[in-house]
């Protein structure tokens, strides 16, 4: 059994290597020839100027953040709510949305013709998904209302428990679906900014 000291001594390069006299002479010459140019020529940056630059940068960042927050609040935001229709129990709100995206849905009717519609796919935050899972487990057979800006967009029957995502379908055009997404995301941003 070796000690740490044994292991370190066995690996000590100083005991096994022979220092190069040539390398040492070169080092000595380099030192005595004077410092490398950049050591002496490096001009010190005045502290006052550094502080001035830092202040200007901080002010610019603060202005940008302030502008961004206010710009975000000024746009039309939408509010989302999911609730159980029968009991009016709210399950999810805008802040529970993680992402929203437009998806194209293709259905084939009984004549074999394909009909394409546009939907909005929502994914929920982990906390939102858990709330959704719990509520839909307890209310199978009831209706879930998906509401945007106090308008019921959909009221699907809860057949099985669901959790992390939901699909809003309706007679949306692509532009309408995109507006919903923008509105929901801006609504979420507005909530975050007001917190």
């Amino acid at each position: 059994m070796k000690t740490l000291n044994d292991v370190l001594r066995e690996s000590d390069p100083v005991t096994t290597e022979v220092p190069s006299a040539h390398a040492r002479a070169a080092t000595r010459s380099a030192i005595l020839a004077g410092p490398r140019q950049h050591y002496y020529d490096r001009k010190s940056f005045p502290r006052r100027r550094v502080l001035a630059y830092a202040a200007v940068t901080a002010a610019a960042v603060a202005a940008a953040v302030f502008g961004w927050r206010h710009a975000s609040v000024d746009v039309a935001a939408m509010q989302f709510e999911a609730r159980i229709a029968e009991s009016n129990q709210t399950i999810l709100v805008t802040s529970d949305i993680q992402t929203a995206k437009v998806v194209a849905l293709h259905d084939r009717n009984k004549d074999g013709q394909t009909k394409s519609t546009v939907g909005v796919e929502l994914t929920f935050t982990p906390e939102g998904a858990e709330k959704m899972r719990r509520a839909t487990s307890e209310h199978v057979g009831e209706h879930l209302q998906l509401i945007i800006d106090h308008q019921v967009v959909m009221a699907p029957l809860i057949r099985t428990p669901t959790s992390s995502e939901a699909m809003l379908t309706g007679d949306f055009t692509y532009e309408q679906a995109n507006r919903i997404i923008d509105g929901l995301m801006k609504g979420k941003l507005e909530l975050l900014n007001t917190k």
Binding site: D12, R24, P35
Partner: protein, 168 residues
């Protein structure tokens, strides 16, 4: 009254070998050690007026410059992040051989590379130069308690990472 160049020359001639040994134990190659020694002396030349007159204090001053220079290099290269995977990859062989000795040596130096240079310097001065914590504290300008603390952590870190090599 000697000129700064003469003083630097005298310091290099008297302390060069000793500081090179420390530099070599703080770096991974002889060339890196020479570079470190040179950089430390060039920094010393920048503030030649600050170098204490008495020899022991001048040695302590130059040692601190060298360790701080190594610390700056270490921060720049981020060697700590690279060292551990190398260490894990190097497993000891059951039969002692030249190859396993080389693997062990590589593992030791990878583990040392993962230590902060100040902690590494303290460990080296204690383990390889046999210096007591009080002397290390004086040399590096630290409190004795700080030295003991670094020493304890360095030993623990190395024992953990080198455990497979200490069983043989």
């Amino acid at each position: 009254m000697s000129t700064p160049a003469e003083r630097l020359s005298l310091l290099f001639d008297t302390l060069g070998d000793k500081l090179y040994r420390l530099a070599r134990r703080l770096t991974s190659s002889a060339a890196d050690a020479e570079d470190l020694l040179q950089e430390a002396f060039l920094k010393a030349a920048q503030s030649a007026a600050s170098i204490p007159d008495e020899s022991p204090r001048a040695e302590a001053w130059l040692t601190r410059v060298l360790v701080n220079t190594r610390r700056d290099q270490w921060r720049r290269t981020g060697v700590r992040t690279r060292a551990m995977p190398m260490l894990q990859a190097a497993a000891p062989q059951s039969q002692p051989s030249a190859e396993s000795a080389l693997i062990a040596k590589e593992a030791v130096w990878s583990a040392l590379d993962a230590l902060h240079p100040r902690r590494r310097a303290i460990l080296i001065l204690a383990e390889l130069d046999g210096m007591p914590p009080e002397a290390i504290a004086t040399l590096l300008g630290l409190a004795v308690m700080t030295v003991r603390w670094h020493l304890s952590l360095a030993r623990r870190e190395l024992r953990q990472s080198l455990a497979p090599f200490m069983e043989h």
